[in-house]
Each structure stands twice: as C-alpha cells, then as structure tokens.
Amino acid sequence: MPIKKALNISIEHVSILDENGKFDEKLGKNLIPDEDVVRLYEHIILCRHLDEVAFKLQRSGRMGTYPENRGQEATSVGAVYALEGKDWLVPCYRENAGLYLRGLPIEYVLLHWMGDERGNQIPEDLHITPIAIPIGTQMLHATGLAWASKYRGDGGISCTFFGDGATSEGDFHEAANFASNLDLPVIFLCQNNGWAISVPSSIQSSAPTFAQRGVAYGMHSVQCDGNDLFAMVKVVREAAERARKENRPTFIEAITYRLGDHTTADDARRYRDADTVEAWTKKDPLIRLRKYLDDRKLWDDKREKAALANAKEAVSAAVKRAEEIEPPKTEAMFNSMYETLHDELILQRETMRTSSIGQNPSEIDPAVSLHAQDTTD
C-alpha cells in the first residue's frame, strides 16, 4: 500500500447546559451537587459585580488598566471547581473568577491593577502564580511546576489558562511539546473568546478548531462550550484524571466570548459590530445557570437579591482593603531585587541617586574640588 493512512484523529465537542438552558441529563448527572451549583452561581454574581466596580474604579482614576472577565466566568470557575487545592493554577489575566474561587482575596487582583506588586504576593498555600502580562509565557511555568509535582510525587498537577491569541506564541508550542514529550501532568486550557484585543480569532488560527492545536503533540484534545459550567467541569475533571493517573497533558478549547472591551484601555466598538456581541450576550453563562436553578426550584428573586447584596458587601470591603493599604515605600522597589542586595543597589536605595557625586556628597565640598581648579586655566 504505497499510499496508506499514517494517522486518523477526531476531536469531540462537549456541551451539557446549552445556551437555552437545556440540560443533558445523561452527561450532567451527578456532575455538580445542587448546593455547589448554587454556590458557583453566587460566586459568578460576585465576580460580575466586581467587574462593574473595577471598571468604575478605572474610569474614575482609582485604578489603572483593568481587563474585564465578563461573560467568561464559567470557564475558569468550572475548571477550578474541578481541580484540587494542591493543583497549580497558572493564569493569564482573565480568570479572576477562578482564582477567587480557589481563595485568592479579591484585593490582590485589585492591587495588581492599581500598580502595586503586593497584589502578586500570593499566599503560598493557594498554589496560584501571579497574573502573567507577557502573553503565552506562563504556560511554560505550568509545565515546570507540573514537572516538579511529578518529580516529587506529590500528586499535584498544573492547569494553565490562556487565550486564543496566546496560542500563536512560540512559548505555547514549546510548553505543550515539553509537557507531552516529557509526560507531564498539565492541563492547557484555552479560553477562545473570539478576540485578542481587536484581532479576531480567525487570524490566530484559520483551522476549524483551536482544539486541534493539541493534536500536533499527540495530546488528548477536546473542545467544549466554555459558557457551560457543567461541560467545563466534565472536561477538566477528565483532564485532571488523565494528568494525575497517566501524567498525560490535555488541550482544552473552551469556546466563550469576551462581552466587554479587551481592557479599560480598549474601545471594542472600533472593530466589532454590536450584533455579534448582542447574540453572545444571550449565551451568557449566568442566564443559563439561572434558568437551570429556576427549573429546579433552587433559586428565586429573593435569593438573587441577597446574593447581589452579599456581592456588593464583599466587593466594597475588598476595594476598601485595596485602597486603604499604606502606599508602598520607595525602598520596596529595591528590597526584593535579590535575597541579599549588592553594594551598588544599597547605595542607590540609601541615596535615591544614581549620579556618583550625589551618592557621595563629600565630593561636592569645595575643598575637594581642587582638581577642577587645576585644569581650568
């Protein structure tokens, strides 16, 4: 057979709670206990409210650039719910909802965007790495963290979050390739939200799916509805099991949509039409979750109101904590450069100068400026 098949592959798409609130009982059964669905729904309400508040903080000059998570919350919430506390979360910047679920206090993220490194001083036991600004780079850290877990045999795995745009970076490729070839327990969770700032996802990949990116590495790859909390929990749980039991990575394409601007520095009306956004608004994970809860009599307007009130309280307390933190001391920018600072750095910190005469004021004494007089004639 001179022409023969070298490979045959297919990728599945998973959906359980669809955009109309239709629930697949078979797939969804026992996936999430009722009380947890309620809790996660409340959590998303809180995160949604936080986004609103953060947006206003930025607009009123109380915070720098901020990236809304609005509309995408189910992706990270579902993923983190499906993981264990010892598993590493290696985020980009659009998965706050998941990080809070793990236990990251809200003010950390606020502080980060308020231009304060203390927002990254993440408590050790949370197993969360700091928000990654350079796109695509953090996936390699996830690979390394997973490797450490495997090396130590501590049973932990890594889950790294990134956007459709991030899959275009070489670092994504190298991370996925390392994970697959070295058999590392990593979940690559691609949040395909349709956009990388103003660039549509079709420029990042002209292939029918992003999920097939994972095929390159011989990695199990799957696509799912990222606005479907249940689908997220299912695929991440399966991926986590694959990682924990077989040390094999998984690539997940979660299809979602960025309902807001890229960040507060962006104006999405410049490059996308309102109709598409409108259509996606109807696929909001909150809407279908509410319907799910309503159908099962797990929720009502009173509880909704209470949840919102709780959210407001929690968010405003967090904002207060973020805003009332004492201003960072100037010396902070020196102090954590190394475990032990070298002389030049100490001198710069003590004098707040880089000009040598200023660092050594005795040199300004006219008595020592002999030399200057010597040569001016």
Binding site: G64, T65, H112, W113, M114, G115, D116, E117, I133, P134, I135, G136, G165, A166, S168, E169, G170, D171, A196, I197, S198, V199, I203, Q204, A265, D266, R270, Y271, P327, P328, T330, A332, M333, F334, M337, E344, L345, Q348, R349, M352, R353, T354, S355, S356, I357, G358, P361, E363, I364, P366, S369, H371, A372, T375, T376
Partner: protein, 322 residues
C-alpha cells in the same frame, strides 16, 4: 504646516511614505482596523487596505522573522511591536538575523526594515509596558537605533529610518505621544540618522539625553542657575559623538539622563567616550542620572524610579560645584 502631536507626526510620515513606495507593508498586532493600541496607525488600514496594513497573529518572533523575509525579498516592512516589553520574543530574530544578514552574506542580502516600538515609562501602564531597552540593541552591531523627542523630529527621523537600507529600531517615547504639539511641515523631509540636536546652547554644563527624558531635562534647565547646553541624541546608534565632544570640550562638565537602569545604560557608553575623547577637558566626572538598577516598578512607584527634574537639577548643581 500643522500643529501635530508625536502620534500624528508618525502617522503622517507613514501615510506619506506608503503613498510614495508600495514596497512598504505594515504589520503587527492590532495595527489594522483598530489603528494600533496607541492609534499610531489610525486610518491606514482603511486607506491602504488589508494587503498593506496587516493584523498579524499574536507572535513577536513571527512578526519580526516574517518581516526579515519580506525585507530580504526587497520589500520595506514596518513591523510594530506593541510595547517594548514584548520585544523579548523578537530579540532572537532581530539579533541573530536582522542585524547579521548583510555582513553574514557580505552584502548579498540586506534587511531594510523599520521596527516601530513604543517605549518608556510614565503613563501608569501595567508591568512590562514601561521599560527602556535601548542598551540591548545598541550593543548589537548591525542595527541602528533611533528615538525622537518631538513631533518634528519624529516625522523626519521616521522617514529616514524607512528609507534606510539597514534595519532600524524606531523607539517611540509613549509618554510624550500626546504630551504636546509642534509645527510639523506637511511636505516630506528627513532628519539624518546619526545627528544629534543641540536643543539649547550653554556654556557651563553639557546635558545629554534622548526620548521623553529630554522633556524632563528641559524642565530642570528652566529652574536652573547654570548655563546648560542640552543635546538631544535623537539617534542612539550610531551616536553623534562629535556633537557631544564639541560641547564637553567647551563646558568640561556633563550630565547624562536616561530612564534605563544605570548599569550599562547608554550613559555608561557616553561617559566612557567622553573620558576617552575629552579627558584633559573634564572638570568633573560625567554624571549619570538614570533609572535605578531595579526592575521598573509597577506604576505606584514608577515616578520614584524615573529621573525627574529634581534629580537632574541636583546633579547639575553637584557637578558644577565639583
């Protein structure tokens, strides 16, 4: 003549060069319909179409490497790297290929491209959006490095960069993208790469700077009792040593001001060359007012990091009392 911001001056230069030369292709992240995150390429996609103003995939090595191929084929690509902090992934293509292709092939292949990159701090941006990496590329033979400090210079220098047969990194000081306006001629004009500008003449102290720091220098000079000669380098590589030498031989004292960390910041090269060329004329050690040898902090502390008029003024006073 129009009264333009630096952003508008660059935009105008791009339009005029693209009208003249259809070998020019712009590429980068968000440079198309959105007109760039700083709106530098605003309207160009609409004017020249998607074949010449291209939103690329999110991959800086890809942007640069592809541009090198375009340039080797004789086109004139102008890649944009969205922020200086994202030059990192493109570093290898710039340094192992763009900078080396001409000499590696003894002239058989050249890489005429202009890499546009917003640079520097002071705008309350997130991490890695406020750095000053000019040392990295100035230390790399084969590149030219340009950084305008005014709208007028921006237009003239960018046109020179685009027409230059060698790779040029065109750093745009984002802090002054819209900080002030200046009369900019409608017609095309060039400012030669490699020539500094004496912003203001003076007799007692030479001050050398470039990019947004030039404005800090002007602020410092305003409230200063000494006669300061301010030189805006405009081109960082190759450096106009003649202009510096001439001035320092007159004043005998020099202060260099830059945002990049002190250690191996460009100030080190300037100070060394001044010592080498003007040793017998120096009345005091050349002073560097620079960023600290720390990572550029997040924005709550960025103004503590960056040289400002106060730090510059102090250095001027100290160096003249030496």
């Amino acid at each position: 003549m129009a009264n333009l911001t630096l952003v508008q001056a660059i935009n105008l230069a791009l339009i005029q060069e693209m009208e003249e030369d259809d070998r020019i292709i712009l590429l980068g992240e968000d440079v198309g319909k959105n007109g760039g995150v700083f709106r530098v390429t605003e309207g160009l996609w609409q004017r020249f179409g998607g074949d010449r103003v291209v939103d690329s995939p999110l991959a800086e090595s890809g942007i640069l490497g592809t541009s090198i191929g375009l340039a080797m084929a004789g086109l004139r690509p102008i890649p944009e790297i969205q922020f200086e902090g994202f030059l990192g992934p493109a570093y290898d293509q710039i340094c192992t290929h763009a900078a080396r292709m001409r000499t590696r092939t003894r002239g058989a292949y050249t890489v005429p491209l202009t890499i546009r990159v917003p640079v520097g701090g002071g705008i309350h941006a997130p991490e890695l959006h406020s750095d000053s990496p000019e040392t990295i590329y100035t230390h790399t033979p084969g590149l030219k490095v340009v950084m305008p400090a005014s709208p007028y210079d921006a237009k003239g220098l960018l046109i020179s960069a685009i027409r230059d047969p060698d790779p040029v990194i065109f750093f745009e000081p984002k802090r002054i993208y819209r900080a002030f306006r200046e009369e900019v001629p409608e017609d095309e004009y060039t400012i030669p790469i490699g020539e500094a500008r004496v912003v203001q003449e003076g007799e007692q102290i030479t001050m050398v700077s470039w990019g947004a720091s030039v404005i800090q220098c002007m602020n410092a000079i305003e409230n200063c009792n000494h006669s300061v000669e301010l030189i805006d380098l405009r081109t960082i590589a190759p450096m106009d040593m003649q202009a510096i030498e001439q001035s320092v031989k007159k004043t005998g004292r020099c202060v260099v001001v830059h945002e990049a960390p002190k250690t191996l910041g460009l100030g080190a090269e300037i100070a060394s060359r001044i010592m080498e060329h003007c040793f017998l004329h120096l009345e005091a050690p050349v002073q560097r007012v620079a960023g600290f040898d720390t990572i550029m902090p997040y924005y709550k502390l960025e103004l503590d990091y960056m040289p400002d008029a106060a730090r510059i003024t102090k250095a001027v006073e100290e160096v003249s009392a030496y």
